[in-house]
Symmetry: C2
């Protein structure tokens, strides 16, 4: 590298962001420097602000700037349903779908024997507490369709059995999906969960 | 989006960085927030510092933090050779090669009739001035092998003809390149510039 130490340090830090490698970090930094006043300075300020204010919601684990996140604080949302997701990215994905009007619970990962992640490392006890404390009629398990995700779903189902209605997201053909490109597991899941027209 | 306004604003700003789209910006921001103290806050501070200090070298157009960049100020580098590049990314690429020990001149783009970029929009007059003022024995045109790059090279060659030795980077087979994967133009350039073993 031949820029100054400050610029090299910035490139190194940018290269650690997932999705950017050393080459794209260089490109990004050059771009940002060329738009110094319009992009670099505002971005620095916004990052500083978020670094100071971002925090996990005490109730559900979502990321926000208050003790209780905007979703938990929104009186228009249904209290009776809790949608359990692995992480905040999944919560955002659910919100983009805009079909769910209840509350969330962010686990912060999945159970994993290999990585030594147990129930106490996730927010599973908090979920059990919420089901006991709040008037919850349904817990929707929206975990990823991976081995770890499904293991976690089974564990949570065990913990909550008999206390609340438990559901999980339907598995099947994605909208716009072509059968020829789907894996066998998805096709057989879609077939066994077929619906009357 | 369902995070707070501050986080949404940060994602939007990150998504404008070349190489990051909305999806990878979301991922990047979640990652940065999860490493708030180790990554997000230092990155914000480093960006602020670079936004304040980064500037173009008055002599060559390289980006640095001083009026005269580290390369122009380095007394160990040869004064007699100027390597002309399109932009700072190309200068950095040349420096990674570590084969050139002279000075640089960054044009800031290429001539382009379509985009209405003329010689005055680039740092071509400054290059002519440097050749007149400094003791320059050779100008190496290291412009990209694109139509615009080569047009610009021809224009500069016209301007400097008779005043200084002009060279350009060799064209040929890249190191590690396989003939079968090279385009016809590269192969014929490499053939016509063949060397005695």
């Amino acid at each position: 590298m031949s820029a100054t130490r400050d610029i090299d340090a910035l490139i190194e830090m940018m290269a650690r962001i997932p999705g950017l490698g050393p080459r794209s970090a260089r490109r990004a930094v050059l771009h940002l420097i060329s738009k110094r006043d319009m992009q670099l300075a505002p971005l620095a300020e916004q990052m500083r602000r978020v670094a100071q204010t971002a925090r996990e919601c005490l109730n559900c684990g979502n990321i926000g700037t208050d003790e209780i996140c905007a979703i938990c604080a929104d009186a228009r949302r249904a209290n009776g349903q809790i949608c359990v997701v692995e992480d905040v990215a999944d919560l955002w994905a659910m919100e983009r779908g805009a079909a769910f009007k209840g509350r969330y619970h962010v686990l912060g990962g999945t159970l994993s024997a290999l990585d030594q992640v147990g129930p106490e490392d996730l927010r599973i006890p908090q979920l059990v507490d919420r089901v006991a404390a709040e008037e919850v009629s349904e817990v929707i398990l929206a975990l990823n369709a991976t081995v770890d995700g499904q293991t976690t779903a089974h564990y949570i189902a065990d913990q909550l059995e008999g206390r609340v209605a438990l559901t999980s997201l339907a598995q099947g053909v994605p909208i716009g999906g072509e059968l020829d490109y789907l894996d066998d597991g998805t096709i057989s899941a879609a077939l066994s969960a077929r619906k009357q027209l």
